[in-house]
């Protein structure tokens, strides 16, 4: 167990490390996420600042993961803050490409509603039991998830439905 790991989760046996700024980073497995988040909340990490995701498709080296963590294509990153301890902790959860879903943090931190919808919209990672798992930024009939690495930049032509065929 890394010494930087916040107390309260030391007994959960989650892989831990630090980032270049020295902030603690935990690597729970998807099934452990809720348990770890709840333990952290009870240990003083009372606010969930952010949920976002990263698509590591094509990234050849993942040097910053501890040995026991199996890298997957997607990673969901949850940032929690403790005002009392004045530090942030980051949870990095590996999400497999074949079954991109996680349990929602909404019941622990209702403020994850919008960020989780954004992750779903942009990466197609679903959150089980989220109250409104719909697209948030893209139009609801949009196909594809724009922030995936296999989604190209700027190839969709703008169409004006009302305008007829120019010829």
């Amino acid at each position: 167990m890394a010494p930087s790991s916040p107390e309260g989760v030391a007994d959960l046996g989650v892989a831990a490390g630090t980032d270049p700024a020295g902030a603690p980073v935990l690597h729970p497995r998807p099934a452990e996420l809720l348990e770890v988040a709840e333990a952290l909340r009870d240990a003083g990490y009372i606010q969930c600042l952010d949920v976002c995701a990263v698509d590591y498709l094509g990234a050849d080296s993942r040097t910053d993961l501890p040995d026991e963590v199996v890298p997957e294509r997607f990673e969901v990153v949850v940032t929690l803050i403790s005002h009392q301890r004045r530090d942030r902790v980051r949870l990095r959860v590996q999400v497999p490409e074949g079954d991109p879903r996680l349990p929602t943090l909404f019941d622990l931190f209702p403020g994850t509603e919008n960020p989780e919808r954004e992750v779903f919209d942009m990466f197609g990672i679903g959150f089980d039991d989220h109250p409104d798992m719909t697209r948030i930024l893209m139009p609801e009939d949009w196909e594809g998830h724009p922030l995936r690495k296999d989604y190209a930049v700027g190839i969709v032509p703008v169409r004006f439905k009302a305008a007829g065929d120019p010829r």
Binding site: T79, L108, G111, T112, T134, L137
Partner: protein
């Protein structure tokens, strides 16, 4: 400064059945309202007081709002995707367009994240110039809030005054950075240029009148019975709800919860400056108005201290890896020309890793989560936009209020849609 941890009981605030009813978009489209006499109406996206293109689904019982759902995405332009195609030096031109009322804060978060990955140590003058610019920008942003908040409540003269003073601030920013908005001034490695001649006098001649005019705003609005009637007790939120919802900034502070990153988790050199963290006590729209008004005063105080303490030295780090050679060298040295060319075309490589850097923007905690794979462009660049998260408080603020108050409440959240939709 107490940062006591109040117990958060997530489930109490969660979904229908809790103290606040929430409405999902699909519910509003398919199911009937929860009672026959209720109706669902759309407010926006094109509405004069929605601060951009924000659409609200409101479920009304007569004149009373029972449930609400903000619908966003109308300004979505995929800036995080674009960020993956730009080098670290081009990145600030992109992120500065997110929160267009306080662009320097997004540039700052982006630059700090990049510098943390690079392991750069900034010269003191660069840090102080950044603080100066951010506080000036905070003044401008809060003046904009005073203007739009006044307009939303029918105080049209306040709109004109706020806009007038903000223009003065923008004029100074233009003088220093070259642009009124979207400055691209704070960059990885420091700032784009040193402060111009006469910046000290220009800053002072800006601060003095603004301080006086804040007193005029007080006389015009703060004690005015109509203003108080429209704001006090309207849109009340508790500290527990704010914490549960991830809400930061003036909205969290309006509940009396003292939390300001500049004070409690200092970045740049804020720990060397004296200022007060302004807190409210009731968590209502009036507190949010008063906090922003007084934060302008605190920023003026900060700028005066920065004027006193501005160190001499370099305005950017002298690291050949990230800093282009001086202009004079390019004319005489082929190597300098190549070096310059490489930095601006290929960009510099940033060591692999991931980092989260946060600053206190006028709207709350603005974070940048940056992942580098060792190349010249970020693998992932995510901005934790305070407005995006703070908007989740709207259903809580609006619940049980009159439709007429909706505009006042939206205004008191002060969302910037460019940052919400990114």
């Amino acid at each position: 400064m107490s940062a006591e941890a109040p117990p958060v009981q997530g489930r109490v605030y969660a979904r229908a059945g809790g103290p606040v009813l929430r409405l999902s978009e699909s519910e509003a489209q398919t199911a009937a309202p929860s009672a026959p006499e209720r109706m669902i109406i759309n407010m926006g996206p094109q509405h004069p007081s929605t601060h951009g293109v924000l659409r609200l689904l409101l479920e009304l019982d007569g004149e009373t709002v029972t449930r609400c759902k903000p619908i966003i995405g109308y300004l979505h332009t995929g800036m995080e995707k674009t960020g993956e195609t730009l080098t670290y030096l081009q990145g600030p031109t992109n992120v500065t367009r997110m929160d267009y009322a306080s662009p320097l804060f997004t540039e700052l978060a982006f630059s700090v994240a990049t510098e943390t990955l690079l392991g750069l140590e900034l010269p003191p003058r660069a840090t102080w110039i950044r603080m100066l610019m951010c506080e000036l920008n905070r003044i401008g942003s809060h003046l904009l809030f005073q203007a739009t908040n006044g307009m939303d409540l029918g105080a049209v003269s306040m709109m004109l005054y706020g806009w007038r003073e903000r223009e003065e601030v923008l004029r100074l920013l233009e003088q220093i950075t070259g642009l009124r908005m979207n400055h691209n001034y704070i960059r990885p490695g420091g700032v784009a240029a040193d402060l111009p001649d006469g910046w000290r006098d220009d800053t002072l001649s800006l601060l003095d009148p603004i301080g006086d005019r804040l007193d005029e705003y007080d006389a015009l609005l703060t004690g005015q019975p109509i203003w108080r009637e429209r704001l006090q007790g309207v849109g009340v939120i508790s500290a527990e709800e704010c914490l549960a919802l991830g809400v930061t900034g003036p909205i969290l502070r309006s509940t009396g919860y003292s939390w300001d990153l500049r004070r409690h988790m200092p970045y740049l050199d804020y720990d060397q400056l004296e200022f007060d963290v302004i807190c409210g006590s009731y968590g209502d729209s009036f507190d949010r108005y008063a906090i922003r008004l007084n934060e302008i005063r605190e920023s003026i105080r900060l700028v005066r201290q920065i004027l006193e303490g501005m160190p001499a030295g370099d305005y950017r780090v002298q690291d050949k890896k990230v800093t282009p050679p001086p202009r004079g060298r390019i004319d005489e040295s082929m190597e300098a020309l190549i070096h310059h060319f490489k930095i601006f075309t290929e960009g510099f490589k940033v060591p692999a890793g991931e980092v989260y850097a946060a600053v206190e923007s006028p709207r709350g905690e603005l974070g940048c989560y940056m992942v580098s794979d060792g190349g010249p462009k970020p693998l992932r660049m995510h901005i934790r936009a305070p407005s995006f998260v703070n908007l989740q408080a709207l259903p809580y603020l609006l619940e049980g209020r009159l439709v007429a108050d909706a505009v006042a409440i939206i205004s008191s959240v002060d969302p910037i849609m460019g940052e919400v939709d990114r």
